[in-house]
């Protein structure tokens, strides 16, 4: 038993978080829709297709596949006049993939940062299953309370060519890195103040 515990403690990259299927369904519905809330999204599409790279580790392959199927079942005929193409990508293959949205299943901080860096190069959106990933520069996650609300990392968003429609900002919870994961519900008026204040 002691040997087993010792062996386990020596393995640094372990992933144990059970993925909640209901939360995956919620994410599958909202991820493509949030992408459409960027005023400039059309400029970034190739072949009128929203490409979603679902980043996974070996253990999460089934969850990644589940999310892909959930997105396909919801958007098999596309969204508005745009096609939606989810694809499953291992974190190790991040450099080989171009996408409009990088969706992150749970991983270590180093790999989150690599995905954020990759998204930087093509002005892609980063969206994470875990809201804690926002502290590593991921732009969006979801806040589950009485109502589901997007959770926006404004400092990550403003450094990209992304301009969200006011309704998204208004309805969202804002993540503030400077306040160490403190979440604030703000109104649109507050948001403008916040934006001015931050910049």
């Amino acid at each position: 038993m002691k040997i087993l515990l010792l062996l386990l403690s020596l393995i640094s990259s372990v992933f144990a978080l059970s993925i909640n299927d209901t939360l995956l369904k919620v994410h599958a519905t909202l991820v493509p829709k949030i992408y459409l809330m960027d005023y400039k999204f059309q400029d970034k599409l190739k072949n009128n297709t929203i490409t979603i790279a679902i980043m996974y580790h070996g253990n999460d392959y089934r969850d990644a596949k589940k999310l892909k199927n959930l997105i396909l079942s919801r958007y098999e005929n596309g969204i508005k006049s745009y096609k939606v193409e989810p694809k499953i990508v291992n974190y190790k293959e991040i450099q080989r993939v171009e996408a409009n949205i990088y969706y992150l299943l749970p991983t270590v901080s180093q790999e989150i940062k690599e995905v954020v860096k990759k998204a930087d190069t093509n002005d892609a959106l980063t969206f994470s299953y875990l809201r804690d990933d926002l502290k590593h520069g991921v732009m969006i996650s979801l806040n589950v309370s009485k109502k589901i609300k997007p959770l926006l990392n404004l400092s990550a968003i403003k450094s990209h060519k992304i301009v969200f429609r006011p309704v998204l900002i208004d309805i969202s919870t804002i993540y503030n890195k400077d306040l160490e994961s403190t979440l604030h519900d703000i109104s649109i008026k507050d948001f403008h103040f916040y934006r001015v204040y931050q910049v």
């Binding site: 386990l8 393995i11 990259s13 372990v14 992933f15 144990a16 978080l17 059970s18 993925i19 909640n20 299927d21 209901t22 939360l23 369904k25 919620v26 519905t29 909202l30 829709k33 949030i34 459409l36 809330m37 580790h57 070996g58 253990n59 392959y61 089934r62 596949k65 589940k66 199927n69 959930l70 079942s73 749970p106 991983t107 270590v108 875990l130 809201r131 804690d132 589950v144 309370s145 009485k146 109502k147 589901i148 609300k149 429609r165 309704v167 998204l168 309805i171 994961s181 403190t182 979440l183």
Partner: protein, 619 residues
């Protein structure tokens, strides 16, 4: 210029319409997912009730194999087996049959015969998407029997998503299980079918307790209509089931339970933010017992069946700002179809009144009102009229206060009832419904997405509790019983490296004389951990503690001993294939259940260490 202006105007209008489209569409999607979250109990901490949701995938990583074992993962729930070996779930110290409401995909499956649910508890976890459990009363929405808990098994085939899975298992006691879920879509119509078969030759304390069990489930639905159907049949062996004698020579004994339900539903929006849902259903339950009397060797044959027809209309609306309203009516017509038994060549005798009929009419409403942004009040009332014993009113009032992002405070008052079962009424036609009054309060602290602490206390008084008199063996109505307890939960996922859960509960269950109720373990505790390695290997550990329980007042033996059981699971996933190796009761401590003194001087031994190998393939 004259032509240009209208053109500009039209294009501006078109553009602004498209803008509105984007915004409205997005806001509607947010509403829709919030509704999904509420319906699937994703945001349980914001609901005015005390709820546990068990997810199949996580349960399987801990080696849990069926619904009965899964319910042991609910705070305040004690698992037990009767003398016959059939499983019993005790919620918050309430040991009577029929106090827990069980639903499969939202369809109630308790029979009216005894109110029993055990014939569904061996349902395999591989077919389950999640199990939603309300700890405490729920009569305002679920009617009779929802006194100490409400269980809703959501199957994968009913979950409306494409699922195709094959699974097989083999283990100790010649245990085999195999099954599949297949789904397809034809146009807008989704079709899903699930099925399984399981079989074991287990001995309980060296007495025969074999099992054969199968089920087939079907769901066909489109946007508005849904057809659900399930047939389930199981046959189990004796253990100590016939006059408490051990069946050591594999005496002939088969207790067969057959259940079938079908439900057709239609839902549609009838106005803005208002929806109507109409249900029509049919349930059938049957039991056939064939046994050889262990002393006289005479053959015992018993056969029972009942049918029920159900109609229900639900109206939901959030048209009134800050309100979520549900108003519903329900009608159920249940009747005995056959009810007879005999020993040897004696004449057939009815088990219950063969002409038993019960018509139940119900009206209910529940409104969740957001008083302030951080404060919800929920109020509901149900009225039931039973043709065979009268009326029942079930009010409820709940409050949820969101102190801030991390803290929640809840309080709930509820009144619930249980109609006497037909076997009880046959024994004593003067029985009335049991009624309960419950007060609950709880706090929740959610530090972040990775750690949550929940603590709640409750006090329940059940009036007119129906129990079996040990002297006359007849069902009688005692004055009342009191149940006071607390439940604690802690979930922690440090740095995504380890998933750890701990929960514990304490209950004092006392009768009207202040005596502890028999068979109730005061203290329960469970700890579990899941550790996943990068290369597809997962390790699961489950530690279960069950405190000792008092025996009945006429039993002079010492309380039952405490039990500590550790289960371990090793799983390996590669792409769509997962294989698991499970050792239950790793330290071979053995599980013991109390038997009445009339049966044996000892408690019965439900086996020790067992092994189980499982594999599944998603395609």
């Amino acid at each position: 210029m004259r032509h240009l202006l209208p053109l500009l105007l039209v294009s501006t209008l078109l553009l602004s319409n498209e803008e509105l489209n984007f915004d409205d569409d997005f806001l509607q999607s947010l509403e829709d997912v919030s509704e999904i979250a509420t319906k699937s109990k994703l945001n349980i901490d914001d609901a005015p009730s005390f709820v546990t949701v068990l997810h199949s995938e996580k349960l399987q990583k801990l080696g849990i194999d069926n619904v009965f074992e899964a319910l042991g993962q609910v705070p305040g729930v004690q698992l037990k087996r009767e003398a016959s070996g059939v499983p019993v779930v005790i919620f918050r110290g309430v040991t009577q049959k029929g106090e827990v409401k069980l639903m499969v995909d939202g369809v109630p499956v308790n029979n009216t015969y005894r109110g029993s649910i055990y014939h569904y508890l061996d349902f395999p976890i591989e077919l389950v998407e999640r199990i939603e459990v309300i700890r405490g009363a729920g009569s305002v929405l679920y009617g009779s029997g929802a006194i100490s808990g409400v269980i809703n098994i959501i199957t994968k085939s009913s979950d409306n998503e494409d699922t195709n899975t094959l699974f097989i298992s083999a283990g100790s006691h010649d245990y085999y299980k195999g099954g599949a879920i297949v789904s397809s879509k034809i146009g807008d119509v989704k079709i899903a079918i699930d099925t399984y078969y399981q079989d074991h030759q287990k001995m309980i304390d060296s007495t025969d307790r074999h099992l054969t069990d199968y089920s087939v489930g079907l769901k066909i639905n489109d946007e508005h209509f849904a057809l659900l159907a399930r047939v389930k049949k199981s046959t189990i062996g004796n253990a100590y089931g016939v006059i408490g004698a051990a069946d050591t020579d594999k005496n002939k004994y088969d207790n067969s339970n057959g259940a079938f339900f079908t439900q057709l539903s239609y839902k549609n929006d009838i106005a803005k933010k208002s929806q109507i849902e109409v249900f029509a259903g049919f349930n059938r339950y049957g039991q056939v017992v064939e046994a050889k009397h262990p002393i006289s060797s005479a053959t015992i044959d018993a056969s029972y069946s009942e049918n029920s027809y159900v109609g229900q209309v639900d109206f939901r609306s959030s048209l009134i700002p800050n309100n979520e309203l549900l108003v519903g009516i329900r009608y159920e017509d249940a009747s005995v179809q056959s009810s007879e038994w005999k020993t040897g060549s004696t004449q057939l005798t009815p088990i219950t009144d063969p002409d038993s009929k019960r018509q139940t009419s119900s009206v209910y409403f529940n409104d969740k009102y957001m008083v302030l942004n951080d404060l919800d009040i929920s109020a509901g009332l149900r009225y039931d009229n039973y043709s065979d014993f009268g009326n029942a009113f079930s009010p409820t009032l709940g409050v949820v206060y969101r102190v801030n992002e991390q803290w929640r405070v809840k309080a709930l008052y509820s009144n619930a009832f249980r109609a006497p079962s037909w076997i009880e009424l046959t024994s004593n036609p003067n029985l009335q419904a049991e009624t309960s009054n419950s007060l609950e309060a709880g706090i929740i602290y959610k530090k972040d997405q990775n750690s949550v602490v929940r603590l709640n206390v409750y006090k329940t008084k059940i009036d007119d509790l129906i129990t079996k008199s040990p002297t006359t063996n007849r069902y009688i109505q005692t004055e009342y019983a009191n149940f006071v307890g607390t439940e604690f939960e802690f979930s922690f996922t440090p740095n995504n490296q380890l998933e750890f859960d701990f929960f514990a509960s304490y209950v004092q269950a006392k009768d009207q004389d202040g005596e502890d109720l028999a068979d109730v373990a005061n203290t329960l505790a469970t700890a579990s951990a899941i550790y996943e390695l990068d290369f597809g290997v997962s390790l699961g550990g489950l530690f279960k503690y069950v405190g000792s329980s008092k025996r009945s007042s006429d039993d002079i033996r010492a309380s039952t001993p405490t039990s500590i059981i550790v289960d371990t699971t090793l799983s390996y996933s590669f792409k769509d294939v997962t294989a698991s190796f499970i050792i239950k009761d790793f330290f071979d401590k053995g599980t013991y259940y109390a038997l009445p003194t009339s049966t044996t001087n000892n408690d019965f031994y439900d086996g020790g260490r067992t092994a189980l190998v499982k594999a599944s393939w998603d395609f």
